[in-house]
Symmetry: C2
Subunit: 523 residues, 2 copies
Amino acid sequence: MSGEPLLVTAFLDRAREHAPEREIVDYVDGTCVRRSTYREYDARVRRLAGALVALGVRPGDRVATLAGNHHRHLELYLAIPLAGAVLHTVNLRLAPDEIAYVVGHAEDAVLLLDAALRPAAAPARAARPDMPVVVLDGEPEDGELAYADLVTGGTPLDGPPPRGEDDLAALCYTTGTTGAPKGVGYSHKALYLHTMAAGLADGHAISRRDRVVHLVAMFHANAWGVPLAALMVGADQILPGPSPRIADVAAIIERERATYLGMVPTLAVDLVDHARRTGADLRSLRALVLGGSTPSRELIRAIEEDLGVPAFQGWGMTETSPMATFSRPEPDAAPDERHAEIQAQGRLLPGLRWRLVDSEGAPVPHDGVSRGELLLRGPWVASEYFRGERPEAFLDGWLRTGDVARIDPDGRLRVVDRVKDLIKSGGEWISSLALEAALLDAPGVADVAVIAVPHERWQERPVAVVVPAAEGVDAAAVLGALEGRVPRWWCPDRVVVVDALPRTSVGKVDKRALRAREHNGVS
Amino acid sequence: MSGEPLLVTAFLDRAREHAPEREIVDYVDGTCVRRSTYREYDARVRRLAGALVALGVRPGDRVATLAGNHHRHLELYLAIPLAGAVLHTVNLRLAPDEIAYVVGHAEDAVLLLDAALRPAAAPARAARPDMPVVVLDGEPEDGELAYADLVTGGTPLDGPPPRGEDDLAALCYTTGTTGAPKGVGYSHKALYLHTMAAGLADGHAISRRDRVVHLVAMFHANAWGVPLAALMVGADQILPGPSPRIADVAAIIERERATYLGMVPTLAVDLVDHARRTGADLRSLRALVLGGSTPSRELIRAIEEDLGVPAFQGWGMTETSPMATFSRPEPDAAPDERHAEIQAQGRLLPGLRWRLVDSEGAPVPHDGVSRGELLLRGPWVASEYFRGERPEAFLDGWLRTGDVARIDPDGRLRVVDRVKDLIKSGGEWISSLALEAALLDAPGVADVAVIAVPHERWQERPVAVVVPAAEGVDAAAVLGALEGRVPRWWCPDRVVVVDALPRTSVGKVDKRALRAREHNGVS
């Protein structure tokens, strides 16, 4: 068998040779601004890679992007690995000092950024004054290079890059709610296999028939792996531009007859509301994949029944490239069963392994009832952080996910909590995630977070922070809705009503901020 | 990322942990004789692997199977690699001397065989008197070991085997129509990636929902890769036993609600006839995958319209593990277009690369018209034969398939001939495959082969060897049907009517025998 390494640049060759006429479509503010083909993409990527090498980028160097979802970012996804370097997608929602931290930690050789993000990058540039900076759009300022010049002027590189399959192709930093960001390095082989897994009929099933919309930020965990998968299968890719409004997203789906969309539940709620209000027809979608947090049953029902679009849940984390599990309900399941299956995190993708362990590291049975911390391992699961930081996140080569989960005997995962979000009350554990799921079904509740507050007698007690729906909310009714659904002693001591939940830079509820507020009596 | 090797034994772990209750079902002569689960399968495989090691099998040793399609053979598929050895599936249709040749060439350490195949194995055993022999069923004779004892008595091996991903996991010999059989060694990594590819939505799309029937012989090119794919996704596997009649196959599909069946066109013709006669309902099949030779349009139409079963074509060869391309028609294609697409060999599976070259090795354009020899390369394509034999079959690491093909600009392959089946007439080439395809559509033609016969003036001329349908055939009508479909000078000089076409041990038309017969005037 040919012993060539598994390199992500194979997917560039694949798109050029097997789908030269398929499309990359750019939108800005709901207007289509560009249509191009994989043939053009390939030519631009190769010239860009040549230009990066001419700029001094060497094999193994990290090259940073600070950019939204547009064709230039998609070009960099392949051009940087083709140049033999490591694509470092910087989270543009980080504070400028945090951006300086990750760019410094990665020792990025070059930074390529959207003009609008110059302020965010200022401290990083100040700290690395010798780092070449390329502006992706608009006119260069203060010694910057113009991206357009690189693409026009580069000498095309013919692949493959001088890399082995175990060398890094990409790097993302996780935005933990505690401690400094940690880098997750992705090898070529990891991303290659992750891309194959994205095409599995039992998984995301991304196929040549698809027209995918990239709503997930491209700095976020390889955009869930969808760009590489689309290249591999020859699917069209639609880029909605910077911060699209939900009306733009709906219009793009309708106009482009998009078939695959991944998004966080919060945005999906907005999309459902929008479609209900306007009658937008989203039925070209064959899959709306929810990820990032657990969707409510009602959201799943609304997507499937009101929009007429099949819903799925994909679960994973930056440390798992990120696809780890996928919930695909049994084909003959009744609607209720179906929605329940989609709300769970689903089955482990082939190629990965899992374990459930208690706090002493002993195995927990997969009986659907017992809870344990989920450990993961496999070709696209991190077994260390970049530069070896935080080794306690790994156990004998297994990733400690920090998630508390149950696995049923049929191999379905249900994440029930973060280890650090468990509430210790009177020597027992209360699951804040289970409480949140139950509260989401209460009347008048649009969004909710449950946090632990210190308690003299019980050590900790739960408090529910609730965002009311348009029609308002009644705290007593909210607590009443929990009856029979959770143990009586789980009932929150208080319901706090807020206008909106604070969120981290990647859109997760910022429980640290909530706890601080609650602790200080600011609610 | 975890740097563990990609080993096929991962699929055994996967089946045990993620589909312990899914089934392996054995039939004999149309009667179900055994049902077991992957949990039981895993336990048996581990004990069997332990017993093989106890028998003296060492890492890298070849271990031969000479067996039909049953659960024991399926156990050996995993137990031999788990023991660190190489699964050598011997073609049971070879002549006894040929079996002795391949067993000797592979230097098999152990032979495991069905009792009924003892005569076929006699010369191989005589030539290797020290080789332990295990009989899979029935009572051991003359120093043979009993398979049942190995499975019962073995000390379970816990994986993974002490192998790297580039070490061999399996070995098949090709049955070329010229020269001695050549061995194709499959590395663990090759079969791992091939298995992933079998699950792709754009390919065979084998999924957890499937109940596959193994009609393809398990000695033949890894049974098209379906057993490993079924283990990976947790699909049920149904083994129809030795030489099932077509009525048995239909009954098994109906009783078991099978969803996936791969078979050669000749048998599919029989299946269609049987279903038409008996009204057998085969609509549980979501895919009937044709492979081994090009199906007729009429067969494809009959499968889709008369049986109500989606037809596909998978194409490949022993040297490609064997899946290389898959024809999946566009979803909105009209029936005619759809059938034409299925008749072509389809798109290259992700992970592989191809080239089309002329007789000087220069590239031939992918314009849908130009013909060239197809070269293949990739993680599951052979780049050499076992022990380095016949190096001229490879070109700079590329496999020379010996197939003449066209590739259209959209990346669809159409195999038009074997290099050695082209007919050289007056300095031009005539495609025997294209002629055969056209002749198959002529009235009264059930089967056909076109061969070259020497000609004084034109060098070679085509002769059609025709098997008539029940109602008989008229040679003039057969030739008349070619009008307008092929160039006039392609018309065969003669139509020879025979009762049946001679076939090789794997069911391909034996053109060498036909040419010899025609040459000797025996027709």
